[in-house]
């Protein structure tokens, strides 16, 4: 019994922290730009396949490839999504959603065309290639590092939003856009910043989880689903809600896996989310604010 408890605790923390990394950017866009970003999954695809392109086709090392990939991510978020879609179709929500998901699917299919499964795409980003035993539980160090990265990135984001002037402006925009405009906030510049901030956590996530996760052109869809589920459960656009929801989903997944059977962990998380939505419309931290 104590062994199962230990397993549940360890995997709740690890999976919860990884889910946080997956969903943070999605929540940020929901909170600041008020957009349900259906193209969010593209970040994971670009993180893996652009890095692979620079490494395999441009013959660059891992670090320069990662840096260039990050620049591509930022350019894609700002030029394609923000300038090309969000600004243009902000008043036509259905068009915005459709175009966003079409872009995501097009990129996934392009990745599949250029690098089908036989290309053997991987990101050699293992930091410590070993395992740690805690009691009877064995965990890969890479998994622990991914979880630590999730906690660290979230802590930095929260502190930054709470303690800096720019963070204050972004929170103000998320709370009351007209009032923020009246107070002289440069909303456009803050939106640019939010777009860049939204790609950092999923990019770090992809780099950290690649050594124990499957990399394929269509992986963005399942990761997008995870991000959506957490954001909905936590309360759309609320970072506090995302943190709680990430660990709650991590706990549900771990409990169902170790007590019952791992095949049902996805279903269990969906049922809990549905129940929460019935009794608390808008999620755990329902509200129109980032924090």
């Amino acid at each position: 019994m104590s062994n199962i408890l230990l397993q549940i605790i360890i995997y709740t923390v690890i999976w919860g922290s990884i889910y946080l990394l997956i969903s943070l950017g999605f929540s940020l866009i929901c909170g600041v730009l008020r957009i349900f970003h259906l193209g969010y999954g593209v970040v994971f695809v670009l993180a893996a396949y652009v890095t692979w392109f620079f490494m395999e086709d441009a013959h660059l090392g891992l670090v320069p490839s990662l840096l260039l990939m990050f620049l591509v991510q930022c350019a894609f978020a700002l030029v394609i999504f923000y300038k090309g879609v969000f600004q243009r179709y902000l008043e036509e929500e259905e068009v915005l959603l459709t175009v966003s998901i079409l872009i995501f699917l097009a990129v996934a299919h392009l990745a599949n065309y250029l690098y089908p499964v036989t290309a053997g795409v991987s990101i050699p980003s293992t930091i410590i290639d070993d395992v740690l035993s805690v009691g009877s539980v064995t965990i890969a160090y890479q998994m622990i590092l991914a979880a630590l990265a999730g906690i660290l990135v979230t802590a930095i984001y929260v502190l930054w939003f709470m303690k800096t002037r720019v963070g204050l402006i972004i929170r103000a925009i998320s709370q009351n856009l007209p009032a923020a405009l009246l107070m002289g906030a440069n909303v456009n510049r803050m939106y640019y910043l939010a777009m860049i901030l939204s790609v950092i956590p999923p990019t770090i996530c992809m780099i950290m989880i690649a050594p124990f996760w499957g990399v394929d052109p269509f992986m963005g869809a399942s990761l997008l689903m995870t991000a959506m589920l957490i954001s909905i459960l936590g309360g759309l656009g609320n970072l506090k809600g995302s943190i709680v929801a990430s660990y709650l989903i991590g706990f549900i997944h771990a409990s169902v896996s170790f007590i019952f059977v791992s095949r049902f962990m996805g279903l269990a998380a969906l049922i809990v989310t549905l129940v929460v939505m019935i009794y608390r419309r808008g999620g755990i931290f329902a509200g129109e604010t980032l924090w």
Partner: protein, 420 residues
């Protein structure tokens, strides 16, 4: 009056010919022999199978064709959509008037093709081959209604009866002898093809777990995983806890890179693992897992071992001249065309489709992985030891055959020893 009688007699004859199907189009007996290949040209396995089909046709044509007739290959893209596959099948049979349709795609496409083919067959006699689709859907149709579906043949070695009656007992003996297994954990993927393995087939075979027990191996853990699962750590934790000394994974479609990576970094990393098939048996998996596949055993048809004189030339020519790797289904497509050729030769031509079917039921031909041929009653292809899928183990970047003993390249090595 006589004119009227002749006209009436002629009309009755025409009516009778049409309604009795005697006037059905007979296969061409002169000119090139037309065959159609259809598959999803975005999928690597269909592309590889298409190239293998082209290679077989080119080789046969260069060697003088079949009974002096060249083969003309018509390739069509289904885009992986069933309605499109049905339209293409009709086009190939009715417009292009092919003698045979080869479907190099998942079994759902094969079933769709077989159904439309059965409707067309009385008027447009032809042969149908499913060269990639596995499972029991194709041959069950032949078994249940031979007259209607006799034109259909399945050339993929994965049928449940043979899994349970031939492959599983054979593999268990191999693992008992080479790894000395005593306690096994069995993992199934949640798909139709594993259902007979999980539940057995009434009056035919017990389940896979029961076969292990019959062989004196204790089954200490059994579970089923879903196709969308990404986190396998809980399963490996449970397996390690169960005391299993071997993991048998009846999987082919789950996220194998994630599965392998997590196995290599879990409590179960020192427990030998065997995967029935899929990506783990293909060369890219080494790169995809950064070598974490080291020690994994897998059923693979892509290993460079000369099972027949055709094996190595097939692999080399496909890569060199057709620019694709030999992925699963490419060899079966290639072999099917050679089996088809031999059947036409034995039938003395293409004049009678039923004679051709009879010859296909009896034909045996040297193939890439053994002998190609079809069960005379049910039309699935000949099982092991006729057609072989070697068990290989990943050892330091290479797939090495450990079974069958006839093709053995090296001894089995424990994963922990390989990681040193």
């Amino acid at each position: 009056m006589m004119k009227k009688i002749h006209l009436f007699t002629g009309m009755v004859l025409v009516f009778l010919l049409i309604t009795t199907g005697v006037w059905a189009a007979a296969p061409d007996t002169t000119g090139p022999i037309k065959i159609g290949f259809m598959g999803n040209m975005s999928a690597p396995f269909s592309l590889s199978a298409k190239a293998a089909a082209a290679m077989a046709v080119d080789e046969i044509n260069q060697a003088g064709g079949i009974n002096g007739r060249q083969i003309k290959l018509i390739v069509e893209d289904t885009k992986g959509e069933i309605p499109k596959a049905v339209e293409i099948y009709k086009k190939l049979v009715m417009n292009d008037k092919v003698l045979a349709v080869f479907i190099g795609e998942k079994v759902e496409m094969g079933v769709a093709g077989m159904e439309i083919g059965a409707e067309l067959f009385p008027e447009y006699p032809h042969i149908f081959f499913s060269t990639i689709g596995s499972g029991d859907d194709i041959w069950h149709r032949v078994r249940d209604n031979y007259k209607k579906y006799r034109f259909g043949f399945q050339t993929y070695y994965a049928i449940s009866t043979n899994y349970l009656k031939i492959l599983a007992p054979d593999n268990i003996d191999c693992f008992k002898n080479q790894i000395k297994i005593k306690k096994v954990a069995i993992l199934y993927e949640d798909m139709e093809w594993t259902k007979p393995l999980r539940q057995g087939i009434p009056n035919v075979s017990p389940s896979l777990a029961a076969i292990y027990k019959e062989k004196g191996v204790n089954v200490v853990y059994e579970t089923t995983t879903s196709l969308d699962q990404k986190m396998f750590n809980p399963i490996f934790e449970e397996i390690a806890k169960s005391g299993a000394d071997f993991i048998d994974c009846a999987v082919g479609y789950i996220d194998q890179p994630a599965f392998v990576k997590q196995w290599a970094q879990s409590s179960a990393r020192n427990i030998p693992v065997f995967i029935w098939g899929g990506l783990a048996g293909m060369p890219p998996i080494w790169k995809m897992t950064e070598g974490k596949v080291n020690g994994v055993m897998v059923g693979s048809s892509l290993v460079r071992v000369a099972i027949t004189p055709k094996t190595i030339p097939f692999m080399d020519n496909l890569v060199k001249n057709y620019k694709v790797g030999p992925i699963f289904g490419s060899h079966t497509t290639y072999d099917t065309i050679y089996g088809f050729k031999k059947a036409i030769e034995k039938a003395g031509g293409t004049g009678s489709i039923d004679n051709l079917i009879k010859q296909l039921e009896q034909v045996e031909e040297v193939a890439v992985l053994g002998t190609i041929g079809w069960n005379a009653k049910y039309h699935y292809n000949l099982p092991p030891p006729k057609y072989v899928t070697p068990i290989v183990q990943w050892q330091d970047g290479e797939m090495k055959v450990i079974y069958p003993l006839k093709y053995k390249m090296t001894d089995y090595k424990a994963p922990k020893d390989l990681r040193k």
